[in-house]
Symmetry: D2
Subunit: 391 residues, 4 copies
């Protein structure tokens, strides 16, 4: 078995740092390794996992299904959608009709002993009770907001209801992958971050940890595609109401505020308050946060740039652009990338940080898959190698 261990070790080290392009080659290499070791070790079979998707009739659910379809280790064997129970996925999402998948069932009818992990794509509120009822050995990535706020009084304040699973909350790991990677690897329940908080924290957390920017006067002007609002039939999200126009919404009162402040406060070790104004954009996918910050005394935008560069230099998905290059949401569409850059502000002592993601990918389902990969001990990028779809 010694030689097999050596082989496996080679497999993994050869592939790092796993540029996107290398991933499939790595997969291939790893496949060999796996197969090779499989000869002598039945435990390798554990590399194939049965996955459940709770709430498969929404956009984050369908995005999980789309991604897992090309994942070599995961297979979806359970999908729930209470109001669509009994239907095939193709009747709910025709773009998935070519897939062989089980029919949708009601969550109450699900046999959770038959899956190894679940993505929970349910609305906040009900999520807590459902997750509480799951077998404890099930790995869970929860895409709702229900386990994101460590302080349950904050949850109650912003969501207007008591938290129903405070004990579970204590166990939950916040799934901002590049920041909490080691915690996520050992987690049983990951609270997958919101889209806005992901786009904001990825650039800001390293800068705040290093005390390069001030905690005061952080102004975040964010812009989101409409898919962030989900698939619910609301007049405000009709094509006719969205196309060819923009608007702010939830000014200062958006529920992602406490999540952003929690992450930044943890980074800097004291309570941070931010200004946050989200805007709705006439596009289905994509999110940009334009972040206006005050630098610490003596700090330059060059310092911010260099710090972010070294912080993220080994990351596949979080990419600091070359200087002066401006991130576009269209250059991340359909991918798990977060692109960002730093610019000097015309106002002395201030800088502008621009960060873009696909809200359904790094802002939701892509990051969720990245997290489950980590939790299952398989390479983080597996199933996430598609390049952005442009145009």
């Amino acid at each position: 078995m010694g030689s097999l261990a050596a082989l496996n070790s080679t497999c993994f080290t050869q592939c790092s740092p796993f540029k996107l392009k290398d991933q499939l080659n790595c997969s291939k290499q790893r496949a060999v390794c796996i197969r090779a070791s499989a000869v002598s070790s039945p435990s390798l079979k554990s590399e194939n996992y049965r996955i459940g998707v709770l709430g498969a009739s929404g956009y984050t659910g369908s995005e999980i299904i789309r991604l897992v379809a090309n994942h070599p280790n995961f297979e979806i064997t359970l999908m729930t959608a209470d109001r669509k129970a009994g239907q095939p996925i193709g009747s709910v999402f025709p773009h998935l009709a070519t897939q062989k998948l089980p029919d949708l069932i009601a969550v109450k009818d699900a046999d959770f002993s038959s899956v190894d992990a679940v993505f929970c794509c349910l609305p906040h509120g009900t999520t807590q009770e459902i997750i509480m009822s799951l077998p404890r050995d099930l790995k869970v990535v929860d895409l709702s907001a229900d386990f994101r706020l460590q302080d349950i009084s904050e949850y109650e304040e912003w969501y207007g209801q008591a938290h129903r699973a405070p004990d579970l909350q204590k166990e939950a790991v916040y799934g901002l992958t590049e920041i909490y990677r080691s915690e996520i690897q050992g987690a049983q329940l990951v609270a997958n971050p919101g889209c806005y908080p992901t786009s904001v924290q990825l650039p800001l957390v390293p800068l705040m940890k290093a005390n390069l920017i001030e905690v005061k006067n952080i102004i975040i002007d964010s812009k989101s595609g409409v898919s962030g609002a989900g698939r619910g039939a609301k007049e405000a999200n009709l094509y006719t109401e969205i196309a060819e126009g923009i608007n702010s919404y939830g000014v200062t009162r958006h529920r992602h505020v406490p999540e952003i402040e929690q992450g930044l406060s943890e980074a800097v070790g004291s309570k941070v308050t931010v200004g946050f104004t989200p805007h709705l954009m006439p596009m289905s996918r994509g999110m940009q946060s334009t972040i206006y910050v005050e630098m610490a005394p003596g700090v330059s935008t060059e310092d911010l740039y260099q710090h972010l560069k070294s912080f993220y230099e080994n990351e596949t998905f979080v990419v600091l652009l070359n200087k002066n290059e401006i991130p576009h949401t269209r250059h991340v569409r359909g991918s798990n990338l977060c692109l960002f850059n730093v610019f000097p502000d015309r106002l002395p002592g201030r800088a502008i940080i621009i960060s873009v993601i696909d809200n359904l990918m790094k802002g939701a389902s892509g990051q969720a898959l990245q997290n489950l990969n980590l939790m299952m001990g398989i390479p983080e990028k597996t199933g996430l190698s598609s390049l952005p779809l442009f145009p």
Copy 2:
């Protein structure tokens, strides 16, 4: 003549303050007055004016033509477009094909003695020389940037070329109608404001004049539709490059910065520096400025609201919304409206001002027509009564 004067006076006073709906009724009334007075006073005939459009093949030019088509006192008798000279307007803008209009000619072939006023929709740079060459008694509304900056050294700095008409610059009146109305009425040459500066100055100038907001840390995050980039064939503005995505551009270096700072500096009597980041939106028309300001000590958002309310209460086109209502660009599309509102920021002592316009209307051709109406002594709103086109 006494009774006629009285009649005219009645006509005009009856119609004020000219709500949009009243305009056509007023037109009707006025038509009677005009006709009535015309009997005894041939000078009244001067209420019908011949208008030239220089640069009629771009979007601001076509928008002028669209508006003037329903203007009872203006008639377009001259249109230039050097590269399209000889063509009917319908071959350049098929949506205008139903109009009886002269063919496009080269500007060098134009007989300016045959018109009473011109809209100049030419690119910056060449504009100065052309306007210098016009008969001095011609009323001119210039939609380019060429006469907007009073300090010609600023022009040189931002536009990279010497100003060629410094004497004319001294005469030029900045055409932000609601702020400089009386100056515009007597002007011979009006420099029509840029779209971004219009959206920013309309809410900020009154607040700064009243010292309600600080001059420091003004952060402006603006979002514009693509028509602001004009009709030039550029790869970056192709449908495929714009649809379903957003991006910042010209970060801190956009040429509208000095114009905004000039207006705010004049309001407050000292040099103001702003942070300004424009964003390109996947929509043809519309502009929003989300403006983050610091209030003066002791000032509340309620103070800002009340001041703006009283400042603009008699205006037709500049409208402060009811409290908490959020302006949408789609609610001004095709109209000359500027809608805005004031919101408390989560950051103590700061406020958020959101302002929306149609960049081709109040941000360009609509305001240009409003200005020429004033310069010609006819009611400011004439020809601008169309409501927004929604959806």
Copy 3:
């Protein structure tokens, strides 16, 4: 009174054939006439009419309100919307918030004695009963499908319910303005045509009346913007479900089929069956019908062109383009125009007719206003002079 009659007659004849541009001048002229005659004839006051809009919370209702805002003779004094009763129009349609209008009320609370005419923008089915209950002297333009089909058995077949007002049906005049103008002038109840039928019949009816095209093998491939589906909150019409994609719908079973066939059958004097396939487009407004026809023996596309040219040469809104020019929906957006043209097909003996309208204007509210103008004896184009909004 003789001289006043002469004056009035001058007024009206001078302005015909009322090109779009001339309309406001005509209004002005007419205003003089009206005023002049008003001195001696109080009955002239009847030129100002109080208008009700039933179902003002949908897109056809809001479009009526938008248009009437600039109509010199009509004023909206009553608006119903059962589920929004008690609200101001600005809370339902913020783009109309600048208008002084009565609040929305429930239809059961409406006092119909206070209005001179109503636009009925209610869903089919309930429309019949409401219209039956209205005072008989009220002029009604019904935008629903309820009175369009002369044969009530066809109504029952396609709408799945018995017709509840068969007597009223007999009185109803089909409101395809350019074809049934004289009938509409005398009508009490006009059934305003559907959008698809308008786009198809305007070019086809004259050709079929003249026996220039065969009744067989008429294939209509139509494309519509999403506003045709109304403002109801349906998943299928969300921005995310519509943007960047197209699809056919209701293949061969769309309810506009019997209306199209009725119009063509009447034109030719025998039963016509058509193939009709509608498609949903990622745009809010606009409709194109691409119509594939077989010409009668010996007939050429030139014959079709010349016949349409002479048939519509005095019309303002229905415009045959110059040869080879292709109609675009974007060139009619926001206007009451129908643009069309005729092309030879590659298949011998066949021709292609392309027709475009704004589905909310000539396809609904614009034509409705055109019809009510006729019914009220005022110039047909009043209030409809806005040029298309482009871009």
Copy 4:
């Protein structure tokens, strides 16, 4: 070596018929096989191929690069773009910036001995000369129109210039994969089909071969996204000129007509003439052909459906939907799928066939990769397993 051959044979047979989901599993299996055989057989190295992309600065070129990035056997080692020579791909297509790829060079500087195959994404006309100059052992998939028409007089008629490589034309195989699979496998030069012809021929060719539809009166109404027009900077393709509107173009004169007619004529053994009207849609990707056909006497739509069902039942990418399901372009976006269905027409004896593809994928680069896979002897679906991106 016998056992290795057996192993390899197992690898390949186990994976067929390669459903989308199975592909990566197969890859994994195959990887094992490859590795296993690699030990004893250096020839296995030939499974990794060096690929050139000529004309990499256009949309079909960038789409090839996007796909090959996840292809386990292909690596791009050469990219040309004359006007962008010297630039990294990331400066031309920022969405590809995360890839390690050679810089763009001029085609004249390319060393074609260093590649095993090329995708030629150049404009028609110049393509012929460049392909003539390539080494004869290079496999070529040409995405231009230059080798699609077997009859070079047709080329001259529709493209207005003489064909410069008539000998090469004789060798070229038309790359409609599912129809000409065996010919493509042995081809040196494949003429990749146009997007419209792909969408039309895939459903029609089997039906015509089986004499189920008449050759006369085939009417094709096609709708395409804007990316089909390429990345050239043209006023007509600006966002402002395309958004929120539709139009026909090239009525009866589009250059894809002879290609469609060639394919159908070959299927039926006699000259077929079709009516073909393309339409431009406000979307970046996607294409629908709505095809109106006359069935042969006694044939029903059920017959058409069953024939298509059996013809394509083993295909991965060409999918007949369940009865009554309507294909949407949004359900194939970003994938290599062609979805279609058959509907009865209201006109007796006629049927409607609706077919959708992503014009850049099955309509261009996806099919090109599918073809090169075949030519290189590797599984046809390799690198094409991404599911559609929705929303």
